[in-house]
């Protein structure tokens, strides 16, 4: 009887340790550290192009994470991406002319939404839409713009040369 009780204790310890390990993996290693109860409010924003933005991406102000991207949808009427943001209720004094831009964290990092505060008196409330937005920068567009501008310059350079 005594031996079986010792087995029980070590088995219990083992199971407890295993459960703790699973809990640690789920809560500490993953990006679920933000707990959303009712203490948050939603904002929506429409972008022409969201690049690689994904649901769960951080929303930050001055580099501080104030919320997460809740969902991304496509608006068939406006032909734009519909992005829903969940902002922590602690940050409830964001001026309602603030703008939302999509940035890239680092060279290869994921994309996130940065909010730059405006200076309006009124603040954003639940369900408001962010009117001023800036799309994700698509590298291919930048390169093609650069190439075309270079081509234009070359032609401009070539034209006077031909006249001489």
């Amino acid at each position: 009887m005594r031996q079986s009780r010792a087995i029980d204790v070590s088995t219990g310890l083992f199971v407890l340790l295993g459960m703790t390990a699973i809990l640690f993996l789920v809560t500490q290693i993953t990006n679920r550290e933000f707990k959303w109860g009712d203490e948050s409010y939603r904002l929506t924003a429409q972008f022409e192009n969201i690049g690689g933005l994904k649901a769960g991406a951080p929303v930050s102000m001055a580099g501080v994470t104030v919320g997460r991207v809740e969902s991304i949808d496509y608006d068939m009427q406006a032909f734009k991406a519909d992005v829903t943001l969940r902002i922590d209720a602690r940050f409830d004094k964001i001026p309602n002319d603030s703008d939302a831009s999509i940035y890239t964290a680092g060279l290869l990092g994921g994309q996130y939404i940065g909010i730059t505060p405006g200076n309006a008196e009124d603040v954003y409330h639940d369900g408001d839409r962010v009117e001023f937005v800036q799309d994700a920068i698509v590298l291919e567009n930048l390169i093609s713009k650069y190439l075309f501008s270079q081509a234009g310059k070359d032609q401009a350079d070539a034209a006077p040369a031909a006249q001489e």
Binding site: T11, F14, V15, T30
Partner: protein
Amino acid sequence: MTSLLAEMFGNTRRFLERLGALAWFSLQVLRQTPAALLRPRLVVEQVYHSGALSLVIIMTCGLFIGMVIGLQGYDLLQRIGSEEALGVGAALSLLKELGPVVTALLFAGRAGTALASELGLMRATDQLAAMEIMAVDPMRRVVLPRFLGGLIAMPLLTAIFIVVAIFGVQLVGVQFFGIDQGQFWSQMRSAVEPGDVYEGLIKGLVFGMSCSLIAVFEGYTADPTAEGVARATTRTVVISAVVTLVLDYILTALML
């Protein structure tokens, strides 16, 4: 030539025979599971034998595997100048592949062999036959608790292995090489999805099922001789390792 053909034919036949027996055995195990759960005492004892007693080897190996990943990962990543990604790379590779697979291989070596040789010895010393005479179903009394114990222990061992290994990576990356602690953890947190954790745990559960099933099957059907027990033990390790790796490919392809 004909003898070679005959041998090949014989081998194929024997393989099919074993496979059929395993399928039949699995069905029996499945059918008896609810009845075995009525006596949780026996299962708890086996969780202790296959789980708690494997803890030390699992944690030691986890720590060293984590530290090796730390060294190799740091060396690789500093060549392309992104050492901070060590946490992400290590966590994902441990969660998705290394954790479950290495735990399963260690489990087969530590707990699987113990199960197979114990059951084989019971068979060789007629203990199983004696139980049958006493109208005790050895399947329900001996095999099932061992199978269920392994099944419960494996996911827990996998989780412990991964956690210890991540601390090993952290030890080498952050303490030795001086990667920024905050970046190490925050990059890991922002890149790892809960789905990755579940993938590792599901793999651990499936490997636990396959490894314990193979161990009890080999032990239960071992030839009742000293040689037969030895062969059953060897086969347990070999077959468990192969099945684990094949299943790993299939599971990864399914869940990716």
